[in-house]
């Protein structure tokens, strides 16, 4: 892919790189950094588009088009406040592949934990920690306390196993562990809310709708008890 692009559009590769570089710079944060970050995000998104589109561009061998595309993306981002809506759209678009990447970004031996599961495990460890803390050389790191506090405050359920069983039916329909964990952590009240939170489910909407409704009703029962 890179070679193909490199032949005709060295500019494309270069453009992609520079735009990528601009992202950490823009995240660095000054007054209008969010506008910049939006820009950065847009640009990044565009480069993703570019890398996909490279084939078609290079097959057309339209060098000019590539450069204007890159510039266009930047200037569009630069036009102040009206970007907001555009950015929103791009975020939503982005969320689709990003949600799925939860599984891809981590090694295969990683298992998603719901907050309630994590709280369960961490509380168990905390008890051991109390024993260990007799040894002054072992310090309980700050992130452990923060993690535990976070898991505790956000675990809506006391029985992780039951919740897991509830989601079994969803995972049979191809909902990934990552998606399930987000739903369990947020505990949406309506089906619409669930789709807004996990946009990648929208693709399977027709199949999931009834099932999801049922699961959310059950989930609400667990939450109250």
């Amino acid at each position: 892919m890179e070679k193909g692009g490199g032949g005709k559009g060295g500019g494309v590769g270069g453009g992609g790189k520079t735009s990528l570089k601009s992202i950490p710079a823009s995240l660095g944060g000054k007054d209008d950094n969010s506008a910049k970050s939006k820009r950065g995000r847009k640009v990044q998104f565009n480069t993703e588009g570019l890398s996909e589109g490279k084939f078609t561009f290079s097959s057309k061998s339209d060098g000019k088009f590539e450069t204007t595309y890159g510039k266009g993306g930047l200037t569009k981002g630069g036009k102040g406040d009206k970007v907001a809506n555009g950015a929103k759209v791009s975020v939503v678009k982005e969320a689709l592949p990003l949600e799925l990447r939860v599984e891809q970004e981590l090694p295969k031996n990683a298992k998603c934990l719901m907050d309630c599961e994590a709280a369960h495990i961490l509380e168990g460890i905390q008890e051991q920690m109390a024993l260990l803390s007799a040894d002054p050389t072992i310090k309980i790191p700050v992130s452990f306390d923060k993690g535990l506090l976070y898991a505790k405050t956000h675990s809506h359920f006391t029985n992780p196993q039951a919740v897991k069983g509830l989601f079994q039916s969803l995972s049979e329909h191809g909902v990934t562990d990552g998606e399930i964990c987000v739903i369990a952590n947020i505990c949406p009240e309506t089906v619409e809310e669930a789709y807004a939170i996990v946009p990648s489910l929208k693709a399977k909407r027709s199949r999931l709708n009834d099932l999801l409704k049922e699961v959310l009703i059950q989930l609400a029962k667990f939450k109250s008890t």
Partner: protein, 197 residues
């Protein structure tokens, strides 16, 4: 999001620790070295849950130190782009606000706060809707979506573990996750308010 994951690490041990308590020494060193650290790939290592396997040691030429390959399970916390989180607001200013979700810091710029919310300065700086019904201030709980993540430069590498004990005596994190979030979307925003308006 929390994860349970199996990781491997080469632990270097001084010969003075060899003896009956070798295993305990390796494990306690592992805990000291690993817990609380952060890497871009795995996120924050919150806690080690178990040690699966300690391999055969290998003597390092010229030093007498021995490296043991250790396989361990741990709980990690890592934010993802596109993930929805519930976070607690830690600071509000005219640029936006900072929030914390566990060990992770999230910044929400004022461009990513709904347009009808305006910044109000004062003792307790906040973002408030024109009718005053919704208020974001310190200690508010917000539901936000992560749109960008970054790990500060120094990523930990397994192979430079020897140099670790020199820094980080107080458990400060060598690298931190930093995220950009938005509350400008459906079903995002304040969940509850400390002042209960």
């Amino acid at each position: 999001m929390f994860f349970h994951i199996v990781l491997e690490r080469n632990m270097q041990l001084h010969p003075r620790h060899f003896g009956r308590n070798l295993r305990e020494h390796i494990i306690s060193k592992l805990m000291k070295d690993v817990e609380g650290t952060c890497s871009g790939r795995h996120g924050f290592v919150v806690a080690i849950t178990s040690v699966e396997n300690i391999g055969k040691g290998l003597i390092r030429d010229g030093t007498g130190f021995v490296t043991f390959p250790v396989k361990y399970q741990c709980v990690v916390f890592r934010p993802f782009k596109g993930e929805i989180l519930e976070a607690v607001v830690s600071m509000v200013n005219k640029m936006g606000f900072f929030a914390e979700a566990g060990p992770v810091q999230i910044f929400v710029s004022n461009h990513l706060i709904p347009d009808d919310m305006e910044f109000q300065s004062g003792d307790m700086p906040n973002y408030t809707t024109s009718d005053g019904s919704v208020k974001i201030q310190k200690d508010s709980e917000v539901r936000l979506k992560i749109i960008g993540t970054r790990v500060d430069a120094t990523e930990i590498d397994k192979n430079i573990s020897q140099s670790r004990p020199k820094w980080d005596p107080a458990g400060s994190h060598p690298s931190r996750f930093f995220c950009i979030g938005t509350i400008k979307d459906d079903f995002l925003g304040v969940i509850n308010d400390p002042t209960t308006i």
